[in-house]
Symmetry: C2
Subunit: 328 residues, 2 copies
Amino acid sequence: MTSHKTGEFERIERLFAPLAAGFPGALGLTDDAALIRPTDGHELVVTTDTVVAGVHYIGDESPDLVARKLLRMNLSDLASMGARPVAYTLNVALPSDLEDDWLEAFTQGLAMDQAEFGISLAGGDSVSTPGPVTLTVTAFGEVPAGRALRRSGARPGDVVFVSGTIGDGALGLKVQRGLLPALPQAQQDVLTARYRLPRPRLGCGVGLRGIAHAAIDVSDGMVADLGHIADTSGVAARIDAASVPLSEAASAALALDPALRDAVLGGGDDYELLFTVPPASVGRVAALSQALALPLTAIGAIEPGQGVRVLGADGAEIALATRGFTHR
Amino acid sequence: MTSHKTGEFERIERLFAPLAAGFPGALGLTDDAALIRPTDGHELVVTTDTVVAGVHYIGDESPDLVARKLLRMNLSDLASMGARPVAYTLNVALPSDLEDDWLEAFTQGLAMDQAEFGISLAGGDSVSTPGPVTLTVTAFGEVPAGRALRRSGARPGDVVFVSGTIGDGALGLKVQRGLLPALPQAQQDVLTARYRLPRPRLGCGVGLRGIAHAAIDVSDGMVADLGHIADTSGVAARIDAASVPLSEAASAALALDPALRDAVLGGGDDYELLFTVPPASVGRVAALSQALALPLTAIGAIEPGQGVRVLGADGAEIALATRGFTHR
């Protein structure tokens, strides 16, 4: 952990060092670098995300939720590769007028999720900025060598599955913006929570090793992310809209305003896993779903060709107003 | 490599994907994460630095130099741990009005140093910001397990060495700010170049495995950085100011203005290696110096106690106006 401002050493010692106490390779954040040794026969999986105040989070989120969402976005990427999380590094660029309270709450959020996911801070950097708070997490996981899930293995005939429910993230953002006032408060709260605090599907990712041909996490939006699988694999994909699993809250929102369908199918921030499985392995997906107590729902198929089609209950293609990418 | 802005996918493909072409684990930047597998028996060394436009670099640097200095700051941290560099990830937060030319020159700088140091881009993130350009590099190296150099191994009796010359970084910053107008232009240029484009001492770091008890790179300033070794090792350190190796340009600057001595001893950004060696290994340091054609100069000693003393030629302690930390 390096830092270049008077007083930062003390701040690191007080706020960040305790987050690194559980990871010997962090060297107490007192060295120039951290040491990470994957388990024998494993390789390291590395992913990184940057968020900027006012761009990726806005308004009334508490700092602990900002911390936890940033960590979880990265853990979700590890999940989509079938990796077990190990550690992370943190880079913070902070305005000089940022209050200590903010940073304390932020580190409390990190501590909470470190405990939940069994990871530790391994290193990082702390600098000042005249701009907005800018935060980077780089997360490290490990996977048996050669067994990482990839986007590129989907084959025609594969069944497309998704974990959990879809659309809650995008609807949660709408709730946060005050755009779904007619929805009962309890359901608004459910959707907001899903947007603010996604659940990385780590057990699912690990369980899909050797089962899934391809996997990705739903961050840009289900249709867009399936498009990434299709493009990278050189295939086409079909989604049967009626099969897409919805939460009770999302169903209620759709019942009030059917036009929300596009946000559900195309919106992002669900952080569910989207994966393809050969027909012979569908039974293993059902067993995994049971073992995890997590719905894993077939929503479509991989086909020859290119692109993603979304079909309605009548078999006609649905043209979506948004296909993702642009939600932030 | 992830990205969340329309058009960013195309930009990544065009500008960043070529930087990842040489590293299979980057998966062409088309997956959720990168795969890094250390050589058998090795562990990964991870370091990360963030720089902010207007804070860590100012004014007329060309984007390729910004890129190369950021990479080299990280490579210098790997050098100080005795690691061989392997790959890096890059996070960019860019203002929406940033011109494509800037990013192109920036990536050209990265490409140049990738070739020089034998590393590749492994992944990253690209986001927009309403603030200044904010850049994070996380660099990955490897070292035989258990053989990384550390700050914490210095013992009383060790000889303190430094590579290359000291003070050029701090003086180069002064030149860039127009503060050394009396210095001949050629020497101004030498100092500016040292400030803008440090040389990570990777060969030296690798060569010091098994020789040095403790090592650090000079980024905060020689006295401050030796203080880090002393604090972490639980010892004191002494620097003999007259022994500190100076470049011709730094000597000329000091001759013009002896008050620059504090900037030389206490200023940062030299990115030389500062290390301690037991007396029995001093001969091996001389051999390494010859093999690398790099000056490795004894400048002091480790002693019982705590803190760092700087002694003048008369043996009296010198009180420095700056001891580092505060130069940026």
